[in-house]
């Protein structure tokens, strides 16, 4: 498996677009989301790395981004 840096993905109209604008708390929240779904990740210099297979799946990255920025979801879905 090869890994690459996770970049937040958001919907813009009908498109899913990667925005390299993660805030300071995003990495912690993303790790919680990934752990909740048993998604493998690594860390490098403060960046969260995920498989390139996941990075190619913009739809799933969009869902993970949404959840990592949803305080209510994070509160009710703690990592095991």
């Amino acid at each position: 498996m090869t890994f690459g840096r996770f970049v937040p993905v958001r919907s813009v109209g009908d498109r899913l677009v990667a925005f390299d604008d993660a805030g300071p708390d995003f990495a912690d929240a993303l790790r919680q989301v990934l752990d909740f779904y048993d998604v493998p990740w690594r860390e490098q210099g403060g960046d969260v790395l995920v498989t390139t297979q996941l990075l190619a799946d913009l739809d799933t990255c969009w869902n993970y981004t949404t959840k990592a920025t949803d305080a209510a979801w994070l509160e009710t879905h703690p990592a095991a």
Binding site: G13, D14, R15, Y37, D59, T66, T76, H77
Partner: protein, 286 residues
């Protein structure tokens, strides 16, 4: 909505509708050709071809001039002004009306109704028939994607459960998808999103986890247009959404939301094993 946004996806290339427009463009001057195009390619292709044709005829690009009848209801009246912009909008609106008629003649009533709703400036929310919507494979594929996501999570929940446990699991997933250019949904909507919200009850007896729950399926898509978005048509260059936005600006056409809602149920049994789990999931509902 709008298919040509796909052209802005990295590597997406020209959208199918744009290609269809290019293929039929030479005959578009006749009503028969419009009907033929509608039959073979659908509304979007007609729209793109109409826009391309308008550009080729040297009509001015839109949007820069304010006009006194901004906000007025859309009309297909013939040209009543010497203002080139008004004349152009008259032509665009008439073509939209032709497209609506052609779509209805071809049985594509939802696509026609959507375009009519937008052109009439009704706004608001338009409910789309669930049976019609679910008749398209891309919609049920989106359902299946989200169902699979729930099933994966439920299996994980089962792995972490203990004898006697009873718990509720909730989650939600979005699936964005684009209809096939062969389907009316492509011309009625294009790209849309299915949001699935699931609530499940798990009860555990020894190594068996019994699951029951429901998923609220909410399909949604704004029927709108966006400045700056475009499709590349080989030989014609970039085609923008400016024409539709001009009709909104000058004739009161108005974006609206499309929605559909339905509920599906899940019953399942997961037998947690030492090496793997045996899973049975049964979905019911529309």
């Amino acid at each position: 909505m709008h298919r040509q946004r796909q052209a802005d996806h990295p590597g997406a290339g020209a959208p199918p509708a744009a290609r269809a427009a290019e293929e039929v463009r030479p005959g578009l001057d006749s009503a028969a050709a419009v009907l033929a195009l509608q039959a073979s390619a659908g509304n979007q292709a007609v729209a793109r071809a109409v826009r391309t044709l308008a550009r080729d005829r040297g009509t001015p690009e839109s949007g820069s001039q304010a006009t006194p009848d901004a906000g007025a209801p859309a009309t297909d009246a013939g040209s009543t002004s010497d203002d080139p912009e008004q004349t152009r909008v008259d032509a665009i609106v008439k073509k939209y009306r032709d497209m609506i008629a052609a779509a209805r003649a071809d049985g594509k009533n939802v696509a026609a109704d959507n375009l009519q709703h937008w052109l009439d400036g009704k706004g608001g929310v338009r409910k789309i028939d669930v049976k019609w919507l679910r008749g398209f494979g891309c919609v049920t594929d989106a359902e299946d994607t989200n169902k699979g996501r729930f099933e994966t999570s439920l299996n994980k929940q089962a792995n972490g459960a203990s004898h006697g446990d009873k718990k509720t699991f909730t989650d939600h997933w979005d699936r964005m998808f684009t209809a096939s250019t062969r389907d009316e949904l492509y011309y009625a909507s294009g790209t849309s999103t299915l949001t699935s919200k699931g609530t499940f009850e798990l009860s555990v007896i020894e190594n068996e986890v019994t699951i029951g729950g429901t998923v609220l399926q909410h399909w949604h898509d704004p029927y709108d247009w966006h400045a700056g978005l475009s499709a590349y048509i080989p030989g014609f260059g970039s085609i923008s959404d400016a024409d539709a936005l001009l009709v909104e600006k000058l004739r009161g056409a108005k974006p609206f939301e499309m929605e559909a809602d339905w509920t599906q149920s899940l019953s399942g049994l997961i037998k947690v094993g030492k090496l793997w789990n045996t899973k049975t999931f049964t979905w019911s509902g529309p």
